[in-house]
């Protein structure tokens, strides 16, 4: 990737390919994240409320997409991060996280990039769309 201070509109960050979602991962994330909603870890509960199976926490997908941003920018550069969960992520879905520079702005003396973010599955279904704003280093 080119130096952060050279980032321009249209530049694409390195994509992040994730392996298929596993049940073990959902159980680990339930414990680590503190979100113990049984819809993500208990298939009996999921069926009782009308789902075919458990499904991933939206916040797991948001956290994984956050890895892409945190790999490219120091954590202190992150000004905002927001997403809309567009579709449920199911067990075995293989996700790809993507980010591209949508605009560059100036706030006081600081240059900031607005990133368009998305996560798609193996069929191209959009799971999540979002935006992050990051401060860029001075040239």
């Amino acid at each position: 990737m080119k130096p952060l201070h050279d980032l321009a509109v249209g530049d694409v960050l390195p994509a992040l390919d994730l392996g298929p979602v596993t049940r073990a991962q959902l159980a680990l994330f339930a414990g680590a994240s503190g979100d113990h909603n049984p819809i993500h870890i208990d298939i009996d509960y999921a069926r009782a409320v009308g789902q075919d199976d458990v499904f991933a926490h939206g916040m797991l997908v948001m956290a994984e997409l956050g890895r892409l941003v945190a790999a490219a920018f120091p954590i202190g550069a992150l000004k905002s991060y927001s997403v809309r969960f567009a579709a449920i992520t199911r067990v075995h879905d293989a996700l790809t996280c993507r980010a591209a520079v949508a605009s560059i702005s100036h706030v006081a003396d600081e240059r900031r990039a607005t990133l368009d973010l998305s996560v798609i599955d193996q069929n191209g279904e959009i799971k999540l769309v979002g935006t992050a704003v990051v401060a860029l280093p001075s040239p």
Partner: protein, 153 residues
């Protein structure tokens, strides 16, 4: 139908702290191997006083409060019909392991879409440090599928 008079409801503030071990567990669960988030020496070398919180961890800290789902009961929401619709974070500064952070939340809005098939509940949370300084603002949008109406997803 969720009672619109609950708009503006202030939730009980609470203060919690992220432990380094919990942050490592979280990093493992999301596949984060960047040393800054798991190795205190790497974090310090990057200028942090301790392990920094990954971008979404404040949402988990909000679940660490004494009664994270009390407002769902209070609003009469069936958890089996609830989905996380949107989530946003505005960061005023990075936060770190060992910091006492106070979460002060309110129900900012409740509204319907799709002819009443879906009800949206918006919770806004301010996160402040021990000195009262701003750390981050969180907005959580929950989507409730109302019974008796066509399921949209």
């Amino acid at each position: 139908m969720i009672d619109r008079s609950q708009i503006g409801l202030a939730l009980e503030p609470f203060t919690v702290m992220a432990e380094p071990g919990r942050l490592r567990f979280f990093a493992q669960a999301i596949g984060e191997t960047n040393p800054v988030f798991v190795d205190e020496a790497a974090a310090r070398a990057a200028g942090h006083p301790g392990l920094p919180l990954p971008p979404t961890f404040l949402f988990s800290m909000e679940l660490d409060g004494p009664a994270p789902f009390a407002f769902i009961d209070r609003l009469g929401i069936d958890p089996g019909r609830m989905l996380h619709g949107e989530q946003s974070f505005i960061y005023h500064r990075p936060a770190h392991a060992g910091e006492a952070l106070t979460f002060t939340a309110r129900i900012a809005d409740i509204f319907d879409k799709k002819g009443g098939a879906l009800t949206f509940v918006v919770r806004e949370t301010k996160v402040t440090d021990a000195a009262g300084g701003p750390v981050a603002d969180l907005t959580t949008v929950l989507v409730v599928r109302n019974p008796g109406l066509r399921e949209v997803r």
